[in-house]
Each structure stands twice: as structure tokens, then as C-alpha cells.
Symmetry: C2
């Protein structure tokens, strides 16, 4: 998995890399840091700048956790497995219900809006009609953005990049909370019903993840169900699995594509994956599909107001048949190539636009957490356009797609109106994305792609017999592959949308070509957004130059490690917690030779203790009057393991008296005695593989030669230290040896 | 990923585990090994007992490899990427062509055979007809098994368990060679044309993998193309990726199911997976599908002899329409439950039958490598049955499936004949599997499942309006899920077979129920076969009791580590190579304090050297007359890196004179200086996670306290040492704490 990635030192996904691999020889002196390795723990989550941390998938082998799983009974384990499946089922159930709700609300609101406008138009009261339409749209959009800005800035945008980062191991505060979910639901309804150029697909994925997270922790942060069973889910690993289920359920609900949902979660969202997860996400999407099917049956009997045939089955083109022949390979390849170019162009322009927004924001404000979200209001201005467009088409976006995909309609859309549609949606798509509302990227790209495909079809004229509707479908697939760079999941989603397996080979070809072409220009749209937001996403493949740098050199560029003694003074602990921001500290001990029980005068590494556990110790005031090792039962009484699993690091409200400051704490039972370690001469590339594959939060660097006088730990690496961008700031000369990286 | 698996200490996949987790407390004395940890490196590959080794996905950071990738130019890297995609395309191309060839051959041979028999029957010469049929079938089967027995025992059986083990990191000799492939192709044609109860699906997967392996290494072992470009693929990682592509292409060719092929590789076969691989396997299967489509077009014009509509589109039931209603949920669930029970029952019985065969073989022979394969001849006897059955049905297995799946045929098959069919195929399926011919498991299970489904449908009578053909499809799906435990890939394969997306929810429910029911009884059929063959497959989830054992204790149960000095005497190296079977040796050095350059009298760990590289040193006679460190260029001239990448450990033909024995070798430049290490107190569970996630071959155990007098390495762990089965033999008391393990 690893060297392979390093071997293929070429490629496409490194956005601005220049290569000069010849310049390195083995005899070259070791690189020296010309400034310290610094990293900012801030990133944009939604539209809010947040302090981010890493998740931790390591097995924490401290005495308390060890004791807990040793005594866990079979019944408890059965409870756990049962609950796991129940939660997967509930995730599917709620996602399906909320997707139905959103669809019903959007179709009804947009329907009554358009009915009212039509009413005025038919009475030839054009001005009033326009006013009503503009007013309704403005109102709906305002509801969406005001909610986002004031209540849940994390609900803005599609949410998919953040989910991707979370599943990669980046903890994002407030990203999966109840407020975020409710604002996302209402905001989505408002924005889509207002006819903005955005879709409900991305938001549905985020909503699915929110449901999963809320179910897993038993409620909102403030009102949790204190159910004993749920405590098993209070760890990063189970939460990750649940959120993966949620995102798959969301995609399934958006496209009514169960297999596509599973594959989307696998291909685009998840970082770690295993067969068991495949099965569980599949279960969630199966539940969603059953729910959607039921509601379609109910709505078919006319009980859903103005719902009709819209919304739920997003682009039900399954009753349409397409035919094609072997000679049609030329236009098909053309669709792929142009789609790839257009897709990467879209990524490029969106990148520029988003950077422009970032620049404006940086100039405007010093304190980012307060004002930033407010800034996005300025993007509400181009709302006039939407009204024009709504008047032009007087339909929802879903219907527009359905019309464009329809077959046997070669003359229904003139080249001129297709051009207007395409250009307008390009511009709108780019600008709308910055608005502080829940906004999906799928629909705008599908709309543009469908228009582009039809235009290409019209331009090909009588060369092929491919239906114009098929051109639209393939154009949409090509543009999505060119921009989002999905292949298998997109193929399956389109398959499940069009319900025509005979289209499979042709769709595959288009997708493969479009992705290849797009990859040769820039990374996928989600990677660009991840990068812009500053989310510390760890790539599967280390950069090639990381092989030329050792973790020891990287550790030297950081401030010295802060260590604690096995039995430590309270004052030292308070001091360390106050004056550092580290989330874990190595615990050292007097070394004893095992054979003779003799102190050697040297120090040994006992393990790693988490900041959260130190805070817990202070909060519980678990202090000893003398410097001694404690018995295991003493600790167990004080610290139930499920409390230790909580991530808590705020100790401002802990007041410690000066006499307590002189007391001691035995850190041994709370220390993870087996942290993963690497030797200082290991290359960063190799350490990164370990870090990412095992899902670590901290990685200890140990010296190659351990001797009595030396500290047994020379450094700690975190996610931020292993990011290429941060390393290059401390070691700019590495850039010289920076090759391009391939898939 | 990790603790989650350990938390869920329950479940279903541990075949014979009993749980008593209460019996462990933290104060319990440390477990002691009551016998040494022994492991046999022998396993059944096909029908041949072979010596197996591990693959190695670690980045080998020795000076020579380091030098090579530092000087690799951009053009070379582009070559590499280009070649990678070309190979993926060629894998698809050849797999598609060979699948077509097999289908054409089978249909034509079986067709002429049946025509001849029909000719005699129509002349009322029954005895002659029966003789011809029996003779033809006997001949075809003999060709298949004689080839297997005498030329390529590795070609016997389905091959999928071996591929699964290979992709998990187990190297299997002769598994993917040219002889194996050719025998597999001819054997498949013979066995399937003879009408045996076996399919060509499993063999096609194996053939795809063989093609991938042969292409990757540039030809057969003896006749390789010495093309410079190909040397980049001479490593375990690239070979693994190619073979994954090959297996996906094989499934795609078997079922004409491109997405299903990708998912099968992902869900059932591969251990490591990443998005890039998803895309490349998808490309391979796309090529296969295009090839198959072309051939179908050609055959439709009647140029394929007796091919007609058979074979290639295995079970083309796409023109059949099925309908179902919400009330049909009861029979659907029933199908799933019974399918799960039957599937696990099938696994259970097959397990017993295969064990019986193993026992017979063990009694019969001492030397397993010679005689074992011959033993399987005894299973040729029940061939009379097939002739009966062929006379009964007078059709190929593919046609039987097609007939069973056909809709609107409620009365075509009587309950009696379905029973005979079902029972016969159950018995035959179990016995045929032991024959030394290429044999797929898919088709027998599909046949049984289809018959079972129809029987259930007939038994349900007028309760539901589900078509009998749909019952057959669902029955086949249920039995496959109950036996093979695939979900998503199976769902997609059935979807692509039936070309009816409306069946999706119903198929999902059946699959989920059948898998759940099956999992509660025993592991999947492939896991059972893997276990029986003794292939050291590493599971994703450590056993719960592995948390109670430290790697130090595990290391103590092994013989002491054999170490080498940085500059070592030739005689010591020869001695070590002769008298041990280890594949890597830690290299120790005099430790120097970095600051002062002073020898401390202590030893330090320089790294790990591979046996293959030591053999290379001896073969190249790279000896020094004095004990000194060499310059890097001296080594580079002697050892081109692509030669070092070869896996070579036979040095019987190396004759070393007694004066050479007294010379020295500088092992430093050939030593991997950064092997992954764990401290001795780490639990086996945690070490196993590292081992499997990173894909290691060797893992060094370092002492917790390093001091001058102690060796810096206390042990080496290999794949065999980390297998639950081997550990339990040395630490039987761990079994007491052995819980059951869930997905």
C-alpha cells in the first residue's frame, strides 16, 4: 500500500508541486530546520472558524480500561452488538423520514409559490406576480441564511468536506449537533424552495450524519439519555462507524440509490473501511429505501398536497429508454473529455472564488469567530438573478433536470435557451456556494452537465443517433466525474437513477475519461474545499519528499517535549495544563532493571497520559499526601471507565488550594502504557503510514540509542506535524525534492 | 477501527469459541507459556502442500533503495503510472478473451455431446447413447483431473480462498504461474463440459488473477521479458494491486457484472483497499464488459457454432419481469431465514466432508508433497451420478439455472423433480468439491438455491402472488448469502444479472436476513476453507483475549532471536542461513553516543536484514578482507536495486571456500534501518492491529528498559506468531478468557 504510493512519484493530485527529484543524493547533508514547525489548530467548519482536534482510534491500554474490558460480560457484549444494529436501523429510518419531510415541504412551498405567481400572471398583473415571486424567494432565502448565521454557522455549505475530515480523524466542534441538524433541515427547505441554484443532496448527507451522531451519543449535548447501554458508544471508533452509516443513508435518501449510497460513503467519504462496515451501511440504506418506497406509494394516492410526482424520486427517468451503437464511441469519448475539462475548470474557478471570499474576510475582521459568518450576507445580493431565472423557467431544479434528461425531445430546447441556462447556472453555481445556507454541490453540477450534454448533442447534429436525453445524462455524469472525481459510486448512482443497465458500459467510459482528464488538472472539488478550510486531512499517500526527512529532524523542529513523572506533584500538573496546549504527555519513571529490581539511575518511558485524564484527576481531586504508588482498586472507585472516555479539557472552574498544590498524583493507572513508538531515524513517510493506517492521535519518537543519561522520548508527533503543508513551512528546502504524487 | 472491534467481544464468527470473560482479573499472575510457540509454514495450496511465506508491504529503508527512489526521474515515474494503467487494461482484455474462449468451448463441446446422445436416443439406441455420454463425460473429467494432478495441483478447486490469502499477505508458490493458468482454463472447460456439478466462476476469478500476475512480472518464471519498465512492478505492493484487478475482472467476466466484480474484490477478496484501487479495478472490469459485449454481438450473428444464446450471458433473465407487493414480506423473510440456515448447514457439512478428506490423506501418506494430490483420484468414482443427471436433464448447468429462474412457469417443474434435483445437487456439490479439477462454488450453490426457492414458492401455494421464477432468484441469493456471506457485491451481481432495479429492496432484505442467520452458526465457506487449508489468514479483528497477553510473553515463548553484527564474518552468515529458517535477522552495532562519538560498550539496533539479501551477498561474493564499513558507491555498483527486490533464498549452489569463510561482510547498506518496533509490554491485540494495517512481515519487539547490558531486541514476531490458533497452542489457558468475536 505504501511504497507503491511512494514509487509512483508522479501524477495529478498535487495542486502546485514542482518536481526536481534529481537534486537529491544520498551524501547530501541532513536538512536543517530554519524555523520551528508551527501549526494552527484553527479551521473553517461551515462558515465558523473553530479550534479543531484529532480523534483517537488507538486502543488506550491503561489499567482502568484494561480492567473494564476484562470484566465485561457476554450479555453486555450482546447488548452492544444488538444496539449497534438498532442504531444503524434508526439512522436509516430517521434519514428516510426527514428526506421525505424535506421533499414534501419543498414541493409544496415551491408549488404554492408558483401557483400564486401563475395566478397573477394569468390576470396579467405581471408586476405583482414578480413582486410576489421575489418576495417569497427573498423571504425563504432569508430564513435559511439568518438561521445559519445566528444559530448554526456549521450548517452552511454542503457539509461533505467536513464529514470527510471527521472520518479522516479530525474532530469538529458543533458539526453534528442538534441545532446544526435542525437549521440544516429548515435552511435546506428554504433555500431549495426559493429556487436557489443549490441542491438538497449534500445537506441530506450532513443530516444523515447528524442523526447518526445524535443517536450514538443518546441525544443533544445538553440533554442526553443516560442509558447504560449507550455508554459503549462513547468512543471515537463507534462514532465514526455510525457517521459513515449516516452519510451513506443521506446519499441514499438524496438519490434513492442504496448501493450508490454505500459506495459513495466508501469511495468519497470514509478513510477507514472494513467489510463489516460495508454490511452495516448497506443495512441503513436498505431501511431508507423501504421508507422512501412506502412514502411514494402513499403520495401516489394523492395525499401529499402538491407533491405529485416530484421530489422524492429525484430524477425518475426510468421509464425512458435509450439506445446506442458501437459507432457512438466518438461522441461518448468527446463527452468525457470535455466534461473532464469543464469539471476541472469549474473546480479551478470555484477555488479562485472561494479564495477571494477568504481574502475579503481576512481583511474585514480580526476576530474571526464573531463576525465572519455575518460577512457572507453580502452574497445575498445577486438574488435578483434567481427571480429572473425562476420567471424564465417557473419550475423547481428537480423538474429542470427531469426535463433535460427526457428522451425524444430533440427540438424542445433551443440552442439559445440552453446556452442561457448553462451560463446562468455556471455563474450562479459559483456565487451561491458562498452563501451561508445549506447548499449541495450535486444539483448545480448536474444541471450544468445536463445542459452541456444537450448542447453537445445538438452540436453533433445528425452524426449519431444517440438521443438528446442520453446526451444530457452522460453530460451530467461527465461533469460530475470531472469535478467530484467519483467513479464507481457515481456510476451506480446514475445506474440507479436511470434504471437502465444497458447504459453501464457507456457511463463507465464517460466517467473514466472525465476523471482522468480532470485529475490531470487539479484535485477534486472536495479536496480543494478541505484545503481552503484548513482542515488537516491526512492523505493516503505520503508525499515523495517525506522519505528524505526523518521524524527525528521533524521532532527537533518542535519545542522540547513536556514530560511528567509517574508520581507527579499537583503543582506541576496544573502548571503544564495551564501553559501548554498539548493533549498528551509522556510519563517517565525511574528505570529498574527487571532482573535485580535495582534502580539504574536512568529514566524509562512508562507511557502517555491524555490531557482529558489529567483534568479529570484535578476535578475529582484525586490527590495523595505522600509520594507513593496507588493500588488499582483505589483508582477504580474514583474513575468509572465511561467517565474517562469523555473528552473534557476545560478546568477553569477547578480551584486548587495551595496546600493541594504540594500534594501528589499517581499517574500510573491512568497512563496508556503502550503508545505506538517510532525510532528517530524513521522517515516521515513511513511514520505517516503508521499514523494514518492505525488511526493515531499521538506518535512518540524514541531515540535510536537509549542510554542512562538521555531522555527516552525525543518528541511527539501529531496530525498537524505530519501535514505536508506544515512541514514545508519549517523545511522549505524539501520542496526542491518535491515530486508530484499520483493516486 | 481497532478498539471498537475489541469492545464488541461477542458474536458470531468464532467457530468454536466458548466465553468466560469474568474469569480474568487485573491481579491475576502473568500467563506463562507451557510450551514453545511453534508454527508450521505448510499449507494446502490447491491440492498441494506447500511451504508458504509472508508478503512484505513495508517500505524497506536501506541505503540502496533510498538511493534509487531519490534519483528516480519524472519520466520514469510517468512510465510507471502509464504502465500501471496499461496493465489494468490488459488484465481486463485477456480476462474477457479467455472467458469468451471458455464459454465458446464449453457450449460447443457440451452441445455436440448432447447432440450425439440425442441422435442415438432418437434411434432408440439407448445403451449406445448412455455409453457415449458416459464415455464423453469420463474423458472430459479425466482430462481435467489428470492435468490438475500431474501438472498443476494448485489449479484444483475454486482458487478464491488462496487469492484471499495472497491479498492478505500470504505468499503462495506456483499459485499464479502460467502452468496453473493453462491447466485451469483447460480443466475448467473439461469439467464444466462434462456436466459436473461445478461452475466456471471461481476458476475465472483465479484465471484473472493469474493473468494479472503474469503480466506484472512480464511473463512466466522462466521466460520473462526483461523490460526495464516492468522492474517497477517487482514488489509485493504492485503485485497485490494487479491481482486485485485480476480477481475483479474475473468476477465481471463470470457474471457480466462490472460493478459486482469491483465490489466482490472489495468485500470478499481484498484485505487492503483504497480509493485509487477502486478506480483501477473499475477500469479493468469496464474493459471486460466491452469485450464481452462485442463477442455477444458477433455470436448473435451465428458465428459461434452451437453457442447460441448460452454461456456468455450466464443467466440472462433481464427480459423477464417480476412484480411483488408489500404483503409479500412474509415469504421474503422466510426465504432469507431458511436460506441462511441451509447455507450455514451447507458450510457445516462441507467442512466435515473436507476434514474427512484431510484425515484420509493424513493416514495415507507421510510425505505430503508427493502423494497427496494423487489421493483425490478416489473421488472420481461417483461419476455415474452425473450421467444419470445429464440424462435426466440433458442440459448444461447454465441452462438449468435459466430454466429455474424463468417466470410464468408455475407448473413446469413438479415438486418431485425439484426435490430430486435439489437433493442430488446437494450431495454432488459436496462430493465434487474434493475432485482435483478447477471447480467453482457459485454455480452449485445457485443451482441448489434456485431449486430451494422454487420448492418454497410451490409450498407457499396461493398465499402470495410472487412469481415462481422470482422465488428461484431469491432462493439462490439467500443460499449464497447464507453460505458465502457476501452482501453488497452479491446484491449488485444479482441486480446486474436480473437487470431489474425494482427487485433491489427485496433482494437486500433477503441477503441481510440470510447472512445474519448464517453468521450466527458458522463462518463463511471461504473462511472455513482457508482454515482447513492452514493458510495463515490474519483477521481484521484481534480476538478479545489477545488483550490479556503481551508481545513480550509471546516473544519469550519463541526461541531466542538470532542477531548479526553490522560487519559480520562470512562463516557466521553461512551458519545462520544454514541452521535457521528465519527470513530476517536484526543487525546490531556498537552503540556510540551521538554527541561525543564515544563507544558506550552497549549495543544498538541498526535494523533488520532480509534473508534474501544475505543470500544475494553470498552469491555475489561481496566479501571484505578486513573488518570495515563500506562506502555507498561500492555497494551500489554490486547490487542494482531491482535485483535486490527479487525474492531469492536458495543458496545451495553457492560454494564458499574456507578462506572466504574468514572474510567479512558489511551489512549496513543492505539493512532496513527503520523496521517497525513495539515495546514488550504492548498487548498482542494492539501489535496485531499494527501488523495487519501496515502490512508487515516482521515486527521487532524492543525491551521497555534499554540499558547497556541488555540486547536491544527481545524478539521478532511474524504472521504465524500472531495467529490465534498458534498462540493458543502455546498459551492454552488464554482460551479460558476467550470470548466470541463479532464483525
Amino acid at each position: 500500500m505504501v511504497e507503491e504510493d511512494l514509487n509512483q512519484v508522479v501524477g495529478n493530485s498535487n495542486y502546485n508541486g514542482e518536481a526536481d527529484p534529481e537534486s537529491n543524493t544520498l551524501n547530501q547533508p541532513l536538512v536543517k530546520a530554519n524555523r520551528t514547525l508551527s501549526s494552527t489548530p484553527l479551521a473553517l467548519v461551515g462558515t465558523k472558524v473553530s479550534h479543531i482536534e484529532s480523534l483517537d482510534y488507538e486502543i488506550n491500554e491503561n489499567d482502568l480500561f484494561k480492567h473494564d474490558w476484562r470484566k465485561r460480560s457476554k450479555a453486555q457484549v450482546l447488548q452492544y452488538v444488538f444496539l449497534k444494529w438498532t442504531l444503524a436501523c434508526l439512522v436509516g429510518l430517521f434519514t428516510g423520514l426527514i428526506a421525505t419531510l424535506i421533499n414534501l415541504a419543498v414541493e409544496n412551498i415551491a408549488g404554492y409559490k408558483l401557483l400564486a405567481v401563475g395566478h397573477f400572471l394569468s390576470q396579467e398583473r405581471y408586476a405583482t406576480g414578480l413582486m410576489v415571486l421575489a418576495g417569497a424567494n427573498l423571504g425563504l432565502t432569508l430564513v435559511a441564511s439568518v438561521l445559519c448565521v445566528f444559530f448554526a454557522p456549521t450548517a452552511a455549505g454542503p457539509g461533505i468536506p467536513e464529514i470527510k475530515a471527521y472520518l479522516n480523524g479530525v474532530d469538529l466542534p458543533n458539526m453534528f449537533g442538534a441545532t446544526t441538524m435542525i437549521v440544516k433541515i429548515i435552511g435546506s427547505i428554504g433555500a431549495v424552495a426559493a429556487g436557489l441554484d443549490l441542491g438538497k443532496e449534500g445537506p441530506l448527507v450532513h443530516i444523515g450524519s447528524c442523526i447518526a451522531s445524535l443517536l450514538g451519543q443518546g441525544g443533544t449535548d445538553n440533554h442526553r439519555i443516560k442509558w447504560r447501554w449507550l455508554r459503549y458508544f462513547n468512543n471515537d471508533r463507534d462514532r465514526r462507524d455510525l457517521i459513515t452509516c449516516g452519510s451513506a443513508a443521506g446519499v441514499c435518501a438524496a438519490f434513492r440509490s442504496p448501493v450508490g449510497g454505500v459506495l459513495f460513503a466508501l469511495e468519497e467519504v470514509a478513510t477507514w473501511w472494513r467489510s463489516a462496515l460495508l454490511w452495516r451501511t448497506f443495512f441503513s440504506t436498505a431501511v431508507v429505501v423501504v421508507i422512501l418506497r412506502e412514502f411514494i406509494e402513499i403520495c401516489n394516492s394523492g395525499k401529499c398536497g402538491l407533491f405529485g410526482r416530484g421530489g422524492l424520486i429525484m430524477f425518475d427517468v426510468s421509464h425512458v429508454t435509450y439506445t446506442y451503437h458501437v459507432t457512438d464511441i466518438v461522441p461518448v469519448m468527446l463527452i468525457g473529455v470535455i466534461g473532464g475539462i469543464l469539471g476541472s475548470l469549474y473546480n479551478h474557478v470555484l477555488h479562485k472564488v472561494l479564495r477571494l471570499y477568504n481574502l475579503i474576510n481576512e481583511k474585514d475582521e480580526i476576530c474571526p469567530t464573531n463576525g465572519r459568518s455575518g460577512n457572507f450576507k453580502q452574497f445575498h445580493c445577486p438574488k435578483g438573478y434567481y427571480n429572473d431565472l425562476a420567471t424564465l423557467l417557473l419550475t423547481t431544479n428537480d423538474d429542470a433536470v427531469r426535463n433535460l434528461f427526457s428522451s425524444n425531445t430533440p427540438n424542445e430546447f433551443s440552442m439559445g435557451s440552453l446556452w442561457i441556462f448553462f451560463v446562468l447556472y455556471c455563474i450562479l453555481g459559483l456565487f451561491t456556494f458562498g452563501i451561508a445556507t445549506p447548499s449541495g454541490l450535486f444539483l448545480p453540477i448536474i444541471l450544468m452537465g445536463a445542459a452541456y450534454g444537450r448542447m453537445l448533442g445538438a452540436a453533433m447534429g445528425s452524426y449519431t443517433s444517440i438521443d438528446q436525453g442520453l446526451y444530457a445524462v452522460l453530460g451530467a455524469a461527465a461533469l460530475m466525474a470531472g469535478s467530484m472525481r467519483m467513479t464507481v459510486s457515481l456510476c451506480v448512482i446514475f445506474l440507479e437513477l436511470t434504471n437502465n443497465l444497458l447504459l453501464l458500459p457507456i457511463t463507465m467510459i464517460v466517467l473514466l475519461i472525465a476523471k482522468t482528464v480532470g485529475d490531470s488538472f487539479n484535485p477534486s472539488i472536495y479536496d480543494i474545499i478541505l484545503d481552503l478550510k484548513g482542515l488537516p486531512f491526512l492523505d493516503a499517500n505520503p508525499e515523495p519528499w517525506m522519505r528524505n526527512l526523518s521524524v527525528g529532524e521533524l521532532g527537533d523542529a518542535k519545542p522540547p517535549v513536556v514530560t511528567l513523572q509517574g508520581v507527579e506533584k499537583v503543582s506541576k500538573i496544573v502548571d503544564v495544563l495551564r501553559n501548554t496546549t498539548h493533549n498528551a504527555f509522556p510519563v517517565l519513571d525511574e528505570a529498574e532493571l527487571p532482573q535485580v529490581g535495582l534502580a539504574t539511575g536512568a529514566t524509562e518511558l512508562h507511557g502517555l497520559i491524555l490531557r482529558a485524564h489529567l483534568v479529570k484527576v484535578l476535578k475529582k481531586r484525586w490527590f495523595l499526601t505522600e509520594k507513593r504508588r496507588t493500588e488499582e482498586w483505589e483508582v477504580r472507585e474514583k474513575f468509572p471507565w465511561d467517565e474517562l472516555a469523555e473528552r473534557e479539557d476545560n478546568f477553569d472552574d477547578v480551584a486548587i488550594t495551595s496546600s493541594e498544590m504540594e500534594m501528589f498524583v499517581d499517574l500510573h493507572p491512568l497512563t496508556n502504557t503502550t503508545p505506538y513508538t517510532v525510532m528517530e531515524n524513521m522517515s516521515v513517510a513511513k511514520a505517516l503510514v503508521l499514523f494514518r493506517q492505525v488511526g493515531l492521535r499521538h506518535l512518540l519518537i524514541v531515540p535510536k540509542i537509549q542510554s542512562s543519561g538521555l531522555c527516552p522520548v525525543v518528541g511527539i508527533l501529531t496530525r498537524q506535524d505530519l501535514r505536508a503543508h506544515n512541514i514545508l513551512q519549517a523545511f522549505p528546502q524539501m520542496e526542491k525534492s518535491k515530486g508530484r504524487k499520483a493516486n
